[in-house]
Amino acid sequence: MPGSYLPSSYLPVLIFLVISLVFGLGALVMGGMFRLRRPYAEKLRPYESGVTPVGEPRQRFSVRFYVIAMLFVVFDVEVIFLYPWAVVFDRIGLFAFIEMVIFIFILLVGYVYAWRKEAFVWE
């Protein structure tokens, strides 16, 4: 509705943004001010209690990782849409059910396509 629009309805978003900024930065600044600083080699390593690093992190990865990641996103998104749909399912009835079936079918086509193109085969 033009005219009746007020930016104030977004005020909570602004407040939220400010609080999260203040909290996030504040925690870092406060920590920096009060914590003790006694560095030694073991402590400065990434993953202090984990595996010893073996090389630079910037290296080339096989393109397959990206294909797998992309396919994961497809199903990820599918699940995100399925949740709200499942919550209100008893109120929206058959029409929404068919809609969701079509949606899943389209994703399924993508899955079948990827399958037939051997996107899941790791040579």
Partner: protein
């Protein structure tokens, strides 16, 4: 808007058909032994969708989707673009060793995006359509995977396309912030009520820049020559007509419906852009010795002509623009069909040198190219003349006689590089070994259709003119 039912889908029927076709083509590609089956299927789908376009008039989803004469006219341009592109591609993809069925699916999805853009009554639907169209064409531009030029074209197109999408979104956000709506006709009402303000003007400029990118108006044309040269020729043909027409469709609707009341404020900028575009396109095309690059600059110049329709505005201006884009589609696809015909195994056939003495070695190909070059210049009795004539008539009628004069001057400059191709073909002797033509039945059919239509419209334009006038409202 809360009640959703099946009848709301009625105006979207052609789009639903195209979406289903895109999915079906993808599945057929998996099982079909001959990839051309996928191409033929996409043509069949277009025929079905085209049949339903005139029966689909109406609004849906609370005005977010509008199917009217205006969108229907543009959808026919997209359909013709798809059919001719598929006909051009079948043999060409084999020559380029990239005969994958996904090509046809991407072409169908890209066309679906264009259809959504032409029918968008809401800026969000416009953005959705634009992204669908653009993402498909980025992939198409890089379709020849083993060719570095093709990949380069795809990356350039993607980076600049993403940038222009960001501009469009920024413009949309500002408009939404100022008017509280993304519905184009409600924006129009809000703009009338509130008048011009600096932020609103800024958003108009953002949207203009975004549409300028997609239509390749100078100074937003930089990507066009590189992308058009590097992309597979059939994709260049597709991109130089469809996405451009779709961007013009959205441009016209948003600016004349949404910002129509501010036209005195933005026509000035558009006049400058138009003259700049014609200058850059026509003058830089002179230097090119690669025919694809030359046609790329020529396509920039033609965007400069077509945008005159939006400057004029109203049904008159829109009809002239739609007319022009329709004709431009046929003559440009025709010219690219000849370029594709010269591409054969091992021979690129893109250099202007390759056209030397073509009239002696291949008189038929030379004659067809002659028709398209004459039409692109705007020489009667070809369609290009009709397109320009009605555009100039609309421009003069709106009181921009001086602008029409400028356009005619640039049009005269364009004769130099179009007719240079004709000169190479007819007045020079063939050099070295003659180029071999790779003519296939489908390419021949595409050439036949484009040549016939270009001449037919040139001789008997009234059906097209009245159709465009009716569609523009």
């Amino acid at each position: 808007m809360n009640e959703i039912n099946v009848s709301m889908l009625a105006p979207l029927l052609p789009e639903v058909i195209m979406a289903s076709a895109g999915i079906l083509v993808l599945l057929v590609e998996l099982v079909a032994r001959r990839k051309e089956t996928a191409g033929l299927l996409s043509i069949a789908a277009v025929a079905v969708a085209a049949y339903y376009v005139p029966h689909s008039f109406g609004k849906s989803f609370g005005g977010m989707f509008v199917s009217d004469g205006y969108s229907a006219f543009f959808k026919f341009i997209f359909f013709i673009n798809l059919i001719l592109t598929v006909l051009l591609s079948m043999r060409y993809l084999v020559i380029e060793k990239s005969n994958h069925g996904e090509y046809y699916s991407l072409v169908v999805f890209s066309t679906l995006g264009m259809m959504l853009m032409a029918s968008a009554g809401d800026l969000i639907v416009l953005y959705l359509g634009l992204e669908l169209m653009a993402l498909s064409s980025y992939v198409l531009a890089g379709f020849i995977r083993h060719d570095a030029r093709s990949s380069e074209a795809a990356v350039k197109y993607f980076l600049l396309g993403a940038f222009s999408s960001a501009l469009l979104l920024y413009g949309i956000t500002l408009v939404y912030g100022l008017t509280g709506t993304t519905d184009v006709s409600l924006i129009g009402a809000a703009v009338v009520e509130k008048g011009l303000s600096t932020p609103l003007f800024l958003s108009v400029v953002f949207l203009m820049a975004a549409f300028g990118f997609k239509t390749a108006l100078a100074p937003f044309h930089m990507w066009a020559p590189d992308v058009y040269e590097g992309a597979p020729t059939s994709v260049t043909a597709f991109m130089s007509v469809g996405p451009k027409a779709a961007a013009f469709a959205a441009f016209g609707r948003v600016f004349l419906t949404g910002f129509g009341s501010l036209s005195t404020d933005w026509t000035g900028i558009l006049v400058v852009l138009s003259i700049l575009t014609m200058a850059v396109g026509n003058i830089l095309a002179i230097q090119q010795d690669n025919i694809k690059r030359m046609l790329a600059y020529s396509s920039v110049a033609h965007a400069g002509y077509a945008v005159l329709g939006i400057i004029v505005g109203g049904a008159e201006g829109l009809a002239a623009m739609m007319n022009y884009l329709f004709i431009y589609g046929f003559m440009n696809l025709g010219a690219f069909a000849v370029v594709i015909m010269l591409r054969s195994e091992g021979v690129r056939g893109e250099a202007l040198e390759d056209y030397k003495g073509l009239a002696k070695t291949h008189p038929f190909a030379a004659a067809v190219m002659l028709v398209f070059m004459f039409s692109l210049t705007g020489i009667p009795p070809t369609a290009g003349f009709i397109g320009k004539f009605y555009l100039f008539k609309a421009v003069v009628g709106a009181g921009y006689a001086w602008l029409a004069v400028v356009t005619v001057i640039f049009s005269a400059i364009s004769a130099y590089f179009y007719l240079r191709v004709v000169m190479y073909m007819y007045m020079l002797e063939p050099e070295g070994e003659a180029v071999t033509l790779s003519l296939s039945p489908s390419l021949g059919l595409a050439l036949l259709i484009t040549t016939l239509v270009v001449i037919l419209i040139g001789v008997y334009p009234s059906p097209l003119l009245s159709f465009a006038r009716l569609a523009a409202g």
